[in-house]
Symmetry: D2
Subunit: 342 residues, 4 copies
């Protein structure tokens, strides 16, 4: 692929159409800007066809290599099961295609190292791995705060990772390799350290864990920067999905993931920041508003606040200004509401 | 415009290229899916050209009517100053174009009523008004909770609306017509009531308010559903931008806008919900991840988590599984980090 | 009464042995320091006797005047119904006794004014009125924060006052005279203003309010310092007892009563203070610990943490220090637990 | 000592008049009910005299045994340095006196075991150890919640223990033996388990820790009930004093110590309880109110809310009731404020 102009849409092949893959197809088509899905791949050819059908200009494949060889594919999103990743990545390298690869990169260190060596052979990066916590607004804020140096150097990182219930077939080892895998990346990314040792403590398993499964586990990482990191992983906690992190630094701590904004402890005060502007507070609302309008309009529909709503607001504001200027209580008068707006 | 297929992109003319208009151009081009800007209009022709220049296939106009007459315009976004809205809307009606019109619909009730009558004349809705709080995640949750009936019927609604400082030229009346205008819509939309009377109380003005400006104000609405609504509007509060609402119903209350999730009071408990799934907790992160990948790839770049990150995670997880299975502390071994990944 | 040395205990007559009076007897005898109850008065002589019986050296009366004439009474606590307060206060004045008078001082302004004139005739204050919110830790913090001037001058005060359900016989007027009475004092005490006007708005009554009762009400005070104060009073809210206040000042706001510490909004940050010392964080725990020890010891009992607990802590700490110094995991060894400590 | 009637005050000898001892003297004399200090002991005779002087009927001693032999001593509070505890406890046993002994019971397990054996020789408990967290309102709530069984069995306990700065002479080992000592008791008391093994991890020391001090430390306990307990101990965190605990059970978690009430995670919701009654919400305020009144009255003073405050409340409520009944705004009229109440 040659360097593309930014006004051209990226044509993506999505490999794997399970829960994650199908969701990424939806995301590319309906949520984000600048890309569209032109190929969908699944070993189950019927499934690939079903996912491709509603997407204009999208072909269905059962062979990843065939999709990657297609003329209308600029980039690859790998969402197939972990054991299939290595082959898909190496094929993408052959076609010099950029890849977004869902986590894990591959199921073990040896295969990951083979991929790494292959990419090194290309002499440039082609792969972004799907560690999506780096894109979570709260983790991003935590990383940014660390970057300011206000808290001093990080010393400890406490993590909680809880799921309502583990899916069938989930093993004790998968608490580490599937779940804590996220915290390995969070640790490395937030701290900028490599992990040098791991210890796993085994609390008495919960009665709600499937028979024979060691759940919860308490994992301790040591890092080459001298930090100690603990992870509570509890995949049958029953009450909800929670991902929390508290970084403890020399001059304060910061905590995320508790259902509200980042909370810091510094210099005698706990708390968070207050937005300074509506573009900060309501950025997402503006995005959703425009998307809703575009989506409805493309369907030939009009939804959302109506002219009646605009008129009523104007009438109330007029009454309000009179109440301000003249004092007392001012009644609001509206014309009768037309049927169109009921 | 005839009914469009959903796979065709919506071609939008943006009228007005001030702060809001320019931001909407960016949003359509870079954030949301399914639309692109094909026309930009400003009375200042140079400004229109500057905004249009980086957008492929986008023309600049100084006359809204000319833009709306263009072949490649399917819809209009009106972001010009309020006094220009009426004319723009009526022109859009002539071209039968759907419109997203920034608030206010028009500056007063009489002109709003004229627009309403014109739309009634078309016999169908063409206009969505830009009351964007209806698209804010917290307001949406509050509305949804009210819809469940768990809280019983609404009796009161307390609002806080605070800005750091008012812009030059902001008058006492504009606290109502520009700021509380949002709460008029929030009140009507959340409660499903019309506002029947307004009272404005005048606390002693803050020393930080510009000379002669009545700031803060305390506004009370009464509604045809028997609710009492209060709004604290304080546009020179100094400390931040805050928009908060607490609905008080027969069996409980719910509060939003305090920097964290919706908090309810019900049956002896205060608190909020816990996500049940990662697709709920991390939906935005997935969106941002894919957008980041698409944006970088379109620039010919690779950013985000690398193969090295994937390899390191695999190595740590392998050590972790061994620590789990064998007990004790297991050291993590990594190959030397290649320069490509530094 | 002549000036007393601080080492002598105050001998108190408690007038009225309903819910509040009986609770105050318990409080004086078992919770606070430096006082004891020597007289208990109730028009129901049997009730007075029942309350006096377990209190050593406490006599029962049915006539307040007789109790106040007793030699062993230094001070009076008036907890009888409001209409009986005026007579009790005037009698206390005749005996020159200091009085703690439960709210309301008297049921109306005319009788309160008579009491005021009688105390003026004494030429010195004898009465403390039972507005106990002035002694609540959170209100005290809010008052102290206002005193520092950090927030600037107060402009508005928002109050919420919610009860689960109103008692039988509670009238619409009592929402004001019994419940909002507290907020009248909070307003005057926090702001240091007198209230100059009152407006009461009537939301649609809750379906859970007794028939014919206007509940909730929304009350607005104006003050001679130019503040606007609102009070939501809702005595059949169903979900709990909540008393909240948010003061809005020129440079920030502060909020109390939400089940956690005072939260402020100032200069781009929300949050609260962190204790700096264990004597701050655990002051109440130390008080309770000593009271528990004294109470048990007076009963000839030993409760609380035992020597076994002390021994176990010592053994764990020894193992911990070894683990710190030698690295790795150190097992804790304990002797067998004696039956005495099981 | 024979069994005492509950109406007699407990006469306490306080051994040690350092920070803790002097504070306990104040507490017994001025805060709690049912006890007074009749003896104060310190090896520094001048210091003992200075502490005893303002306490009526309190003698000063430099020898603990002499104080314990006094006729007017019913009980002993040991607040001397740890190494002096063993001798004081054994002497108290000789006199058959009940003892409240500040933590640590003794400085090491061997001496603690000797005390334990001596008390066993008495055949009944005489000692309460000063683990005061068992009396902290939040820990008490956490213990009570565990007792209900709602959360299921405990699996993990996460603790944070942070001090602003360590005092001079504080060693690495003292982070365990002085600070984590509290968490050893919290663990044993909350869980009802004995601790069976300890591991201590050493993060890179903070730059703010005194030279050579290993601070922070990350301590892991294992218990005979199969729980895993971690303690972050950080005695030079700089920003405040924080003691937090989160218990993780089979069906939910509960957290205390974050500056607000206990917060639970259960069944899809986070949050806390709402008081149901003013006696719950304002119990402490009532205690403080009465103590303030007693203290002032014993000084011959009257403080707190005045008759003027009572009168003003009555006048506002009267106006409020009229505003409720008649509608509109009602002005409040007050007589001129007398000088006595200014």
């Amino acid at each position: 692929m040659t360097q593309r102009g930014t006004s051209e849409e990226l044509r993506v092949a999505v490999i794997g159409t399970g829960r994650m893959g199908a969701d990424h197809v939806r995301r590319i088509q309906q949520v984000i800007s600048g890309a569209r899905v032109t190929a969908v791949v699944d070993v189950d050819a019927e499934r690939a066809k079903a996912v491709a059908a509603p997407v204009a200009g999208c072909a269905a494949y059962s062979d990843p290599a065939a999709a990657m060889a297609a003329d209308d594919v600029d980039a690859v999103l790998v969402a197939s099961p972990g054991p299939a990743h290595e082959a898909a990545l190496l094929t993408a390298f052959e076609h010099d295609l950029p890849v977004l690869c869902e986590k894990p990169l591959t199921p073990d260190a040896a295969s990951a190292l083979r991929v790494l060596e292959a990419e090194l052979g290309l002499g440039r990066r082609r792969v972004q791995v799907g560690f999506m916590r780096r894109y979570d607004a709260e983790y991003v804020k935590l990383k940014a705060l660390l970057g300011t140096g206000q808290l001093g150097r990080p010393l400890m990182l406490h993590n909680r990772h809880r799921n309502v219930a583990s899916p069938p077939g989930f093993t004790s080892a998968m608490l580490i390799s599937d779940s804590v895998a996220h915290e390995t990346d969070v640790t490395r990314w937030l701290l900028g350290h490599e992990i040098t040792a791991v210890t796993v403590l085994r609390p008495r398993p919960s009665a709600n864990a499937p028979d024979g499964i060691q759940d919860p586990q308490f994992v301790v990482f040591e890092t080459d920067g001298g930090a100690v990191v603990d992870v509570e992983i509890f995949v049958n906690c029953g009450f909800g999905y929670q991902v929390q992190a508290e970084i403890v630094c020399e001059r304060g701590t910061a905590r995320i993931g508790e259902g509200h904004a980042m909370v810091t402890n510094m210099a005698g005060r706990w708390g968070g920041t207050i937005a300074q502007d509506f573009t900060d507070r309501f950025a997402d609302a503006y995005d959703r508003e425009l998307q809703a309008w575009v989506d409805a309009t493309r369907q030939g529909e009009v939804t959302g606040p109506s002219v009646w709503d605009g008129y009523a607001a104007a009438a109330v504001c007029e009454a309000g200004v009179r109440a301000l200027e003249e004092g007392g209580r001012v009644e609001v008068e509206l014309v009768e509401r037309p049927a169109l707006y009921r």
